[in-house]
Symmetry: C2
DNA sequence: GCTTAGCACTCCATTTACATGAGTGCTAAA
DNA sequence: TTTAGCACTCATGTAAATGGAGTGCTAAGC
């Protein structure tokens, strides 16, 4: 028949909901009893057979019930799902924990822990992109062999550092001058802006600026170039994933945890989520990594000064309570954005 | 009988070695065949019964062979073991990876990876204690609400930072002065020495020093006090532990990984190892944490300038090849010390 | 045309029974 | 003190029987 009428959609929805809550393959009889449409198991079997043919269901074996496929979850999430508002005790917990003023690292850590604790799955929050962040102060220190240690402070209180190789050795005094100069000019600008500006300055007629300025600009260029190194994230509650039988195979767990440790694949996925805003979902195979075939990832991006700077989300088995997770991730992202935004200085 | 004669020790040794390599309970017949002492299984059974009574062996059930207890491993490690020198290809690998000059963080990361990769267990290296490290440069930046961001560089190129709460707001200029003053006086001293010296200075007649020096010393005191926060370590290859059936129970794995994430228990253990130098071993229950009942920890401390500043080691099942792991950990610690020691500046 | 009752069939999970084999403890003889 | 022998225990493996859940199909009912 190959038609997705209202009834089959409704049945599919019920099946998915039931499977999400029970974790067991669902048979026709169960569904028949559950549903308010008074249909016999036989009828439901017919519908199910159709849904299976269309790729939404699949049987682990002949005489088991049926299980939703990734496409089914996708359909479910896109058009069948009825989101449930966050429980008020959870909501207030999120509010509470994300309102304490604190270092950004700490806030992000708390956000990640919130995500994992309230969902009993894994929570992940990327560190804010440096690019879009304000330079507050920069400092240069000489090391041996014409290397220079650059320390820069962004966003009030985040400290980063980097070692650059220069063409000649600089003295402490020289470097201090350079630092003073750069601080005077660039402090308060975003790193991206600084880089662009430095680049432009270099293109200008180099004769017109004196040697020490040239040095300064050169150093700044080195300091700011190639400045998206180890993108990173804070992951918590990975161990919660061990509880899910879908993921608990020894080999599978090992792969999963290795992926978490190596980070790159996860980063790639999260990066993709950053492009869109609003809640974004990868279900099972959609991620493209076999390790995550049994997992779903629900994310939302967060921002500072209305610029998207990072992503946060929840990783769990495809069989997760999307209707709760989605609004939860959404609101957490919003509150994290609020918490990270530059605060009016209190008196 | 309760006597540990030569013969029973020899048999115990063989049993342990065999169990370590096979992972299966060892029966009397196996041992009889293996041993060059021509003894019948029956005799061996008698010996084994004695060893069991003395707490060195234990049977999983009546008709299984026997398994060494933690005490047996302890005895084995302390007096029976014949260490095997590191295989030359492993040795050269260690040499190679620990000779690349690089940031300390990177070297430590590589050391940890070496430990895990070459043993196929988990490798751990603590970050060097800050206490014992040289202050190179210090810098103060004002934040809102009378808070000050302190950035200090130690050991050539390690950057740390900390936020302190002051009693009054300081201007950028004031803080710069303070920084200059402290740099002039304390740069090059160990953090511990700096703290002590600052403390002493405060005790001196406060009238004799002027207000701005007093400010400086006060700030320094704040900056350096309570300065062993998040002791931390680099852990790699945790996932290797999933391969060992002794540890692979779901619940057990979860506890283990949680312990790794929370860090405190592991830190406590590692800290104890720091007190002794040379190779230190915790076997099974000796650690005192039930999570590690099935694990052994082989560590050795490493030093900078002949001061012990950290510990490195291997975590694995009690059933591990101690005779290889011990020399390996030993040499890795020595080479790490060498790699971290201040380098003669190359021309 | 959909819906449904009925039925044969499939497959998994659980149980039972039984054989096997490894290993033990004990005793009595060498 | 060592060892051979023997009865006993227990985990493991295999095979068959059973029960239950669920299916697909067909034919009858609305």
């Amino acid at each position: 028949m190959q038609v997705l009428n209202d009834r089959s959609l409704q049945l599919l929805k019920m099946l998915i909901e039931r499977y999400i809550s029970d974790g067991q393959p669902i048979g026709s009889r169960t569904l028949s009893k559950d549903s308010d449409l008074k249909l016999s198991p036989a009828t439901i079997r017919n519908v199910m057979a159709d849904l299976e043919e269309m790729g939404f269901l699949h049987s682990p074996h002949t005489s088991a019930g049926r299980i939703p496929t990734a496409s089914a979850y996708r359909l479910f999430v896109d058009s069948l799902l009825t989101v449930k508002p966050l429980e008020s005790k959870d909501l207030s917990r999120v509010h509470l924990e994300l309102s304490t003023r604190d270092g950004n690292k700490e806030i992000i850590g708390r956000a990640s822990r919130l995500l994992s604790e309230l969902t009993q799955m894994a929570g992940v929050v990327t560190l804010p992109k440096r690019e879009l962040v304000c330079l507050r102060h920069i400092e240069f220190l000489p090391l041996s062999n014409a290397r220079v240690l650059v320390i820069f402070v962004t966003n009030e209180q985040e400290v980063h550092n980097k070692i650059i190789q220069t063409t000649r050795a600089f003295s402490t005094a020289e470097l201090q001058q350079v630092g003073n100069y750069l601080n005077a000019i660039y402090s308060g600008h975003s790193l991206a802006a600084v880089r662009e500006s430095v680049f432009k300055e270099l293109q200008d007629d180099q004769q017109r600026i004196n040697q020490s300025l040239l040095d300064a600009v050169n150093l700044a260029q080195l300091a700011f170039e190639d400045e998206n190194p180890k993108e990173d994230y804070v992951l918590t509650g990975e161990t919660n994933l061990m509880e899910f039988s879908e993921l608990a195979g020894r080999e599978h767990l090992k792969n999963l945890f290795n992926a978490f440790n190596q980070k790159q694949d996860v980063i790639y996925l999260l990066d993709q989520c950053m492009k869109t805003n609003g809640v974004q979902i990868f279900i099972g195979e959609e991620s493209g990594y076999k390790v995550f075939d049994q997992c779903s990832l629900v994310t939302s991006s967060y921002s500072i000064n209305d610029e998207v700077v990072g992503v946060l989300g929840v990783i769990g088995p495809t069989r997760m309570a999307y209707e709760k997770i989605i609004p939860f991730v959404d609101i957490t992202a919003k509150l994290l954005s609020a918490a990270l935004n530059p605060k009016p200085t209190s008196p």
